[in-house]
């Protein structure tokens, strides 16, 4: 089936089997491999992408369900020039080790802070409880997201969609 959607600001069209999930479509067909697969049953969060402003698990969505949507992946959260404030904070706080869960952490944190730039540590931990990490023990990740809030407060005085 043909599917059309927006990916990181570009229009894309793919032709995929109905059973292909969005994560596989992004990775194997569109070759955006930053979105990772850690479980394929909706638990680990490594596949988190942002669809129409909402953080979702790309392994729990069919590619065909992305028709007409706006999709943002970790690649779309980067610039060539410098690291974004969120990325900078992750690096500073050693919020990644093997890097496998990191894309999902970044998309989830970005979605959260865009809507809730004042999220406190409990809220951040609660939201990130849907993203598993086996390397870091999470402390650095939460510290990084807390620090990144400043940049999101400046960017959007009111709540908005990422």
């Amino acid at each position: 089936m043909r599917v059309n959607f927006q990916l990181n600001g570009d229009s894309v069209e793919v032709d995929v089997e109905p059973r292909m999930h969005l994560a596989d479509c992004l990775r194997d067909v569109l070759r955006q491999t930053g979105t990772h697969l850690g479980c394929e049953h909706g638990v680990c969060g490594a596949c988190t992408v942002i669809v129409d402003g909402d953080a979702v698990r790309a392994c729990l969505m069919l590619a065909v369900q992305a028709e007409g949507s706006t999709v943002v992946t970790v690649e779309g959260l980067s610039t060539e020039a410098a690291l974004t404030p969120l990325q900078t904070a992750f690096r500073k706080h050693h919020a990644l080790q093997c890097g496998f869960c990191t894309p999902g952490m970044l998309t989830t944190a970005h979605a959260l802070l865009t809507e809730e730039p004042d999220a406190d540590a409990d809220r951040i931990r609660s939201v990130l409880s849907g993203n598993l990490c086996r390397c870091t023990g999470y402390i650095g990740i939460v510290e990084a997201v807390l620090e990144a809030r400043a940049a999101y407060r400046k960017a959007a005085p009111g709540a908005g969609k990422p």
Partner: protein
């Protein structure tokens, strides 16, 4: 863990959707997919056709009025969270939904999906049953409404026929002065509840409980009300002694399953704890 192959349709109307289901008994509805996709990934389900409701309009509203709260089947957890009217219109629903799964799942999981999936540990079926809700369905032959208390027949099992699509959950109006609580216990945040209690009661002028509704999730094969506990509470002041009795009664009233996470004895213990804590909290808090 790729699903077995299936066809896919995204009809524009509810009618078309029911006709597609009626024409193919192996077809299945997909809405948010948060419960269905894992089943497909594990090949525990292998439908021939997925009928996606994403283009069907009219199923995504939350209507609040004199007849109570009506949740369209495609209403997401996220929508319930965002709707501030529910803080007063149905605080118990709102509290319970706060425990559902995780952030990403809440952006796609739906009311209809949860009711159709009928996990015995799921929050919304517990709310539906305890609050005397009604579930509306549309099928090839027409529409019907089933009381939630009858709808769930066992683990992952309901009265919904294969050609039927859930359209709405209707919760009766909520009394402002009601005493209520929702308590669940899961090993980690967002995990399925090992046990959960949904409760509310009203009070007469003398402070005695009446209209008690106490429901259980997780420590059972399907959500159900604990009639023995309700009978115990009705007509009495809910004091310390009664609370302890209610807790003990609740523990005996449930028939919990056993699995790798918890045995029956522990689940009974959890039910007792949750009833006790829920009733204590309800005794202190009225309305909101």
């Amino acid at each position: 863990m790729k699903p077995a192959p299936f066809d896919y349709q995204a009809p524009a109307t509810l009618r078309e959707a029911t006709l597609l289901l009626a024409a193919d008994p192996e077809a299945t509805v997909i809405a948010g997919g948060q419960s269905l996709m894992p089943l497909l990934a594990f090949r525990l389900a292998a439908p021939s056709l997925l009928v996606d409701l994403r283009r069907v309009s009219g199923l995504g509203t939350i209507a609040i009025g004199d007849s109570g709260v009506r949740l369209g089947a495609r209403v997401r957890w996220r929508d319930i969270e965002d709707d501030r009217r529910l803080v007063t219109a149905h605080p118990l629903l709102r509290e319970a939904i706060g425990h559902v799964a995780h952030y990403q799942i809440r952006n796609r999981g739906t009311v209809g999906g949860s009711l159709a999936h009928a996990d015995p540990a799921a929050e919304l079926p517990g709310i539906a049953v305890t609050c005397d809700a009604e579930i509306s369905l549309a099928g090839a032959a027409g529409t019907r409404t089933i009381p939630a208390g009858e709808f769930f027949t066992g683990p992952l099992s309901t009265l919904r026929r294969p050609d039927e699509i859930i359209t709405e959950l209707h919760l009766p109006p909520w009394s402002r002065d009601r005493r209520w609580a929702f308590r669940e216990f899961a090993q980690r945040q967002g995990d399925f509840a090992l046990a959960g209690i949904v409760l509310f009661y009203d009070e007469d002028q003398d402070g005695r409980a009446r209209n008690a509704h106490v429901g259980v999730i997780g420590a059972c094969n399907r959500p159900h009300r604990l009639i023995e506990v309700e009978t115990l509470l009705n007509g009495h002041q809910v004091d310390d002694g009664l609370i302890r009795q209610a807790a003990a009664t609740a523990a005996q009233a449930v028939d919990p399953p056993e699995d790798l996470h918890a045995g029956a004895a522990y689940r009974r213990g959890l039910v007792a704890t949750l009833v006790e804590r829920g009733l204590r909290a309800a005794a202190q808090k009225r309305g909101r």
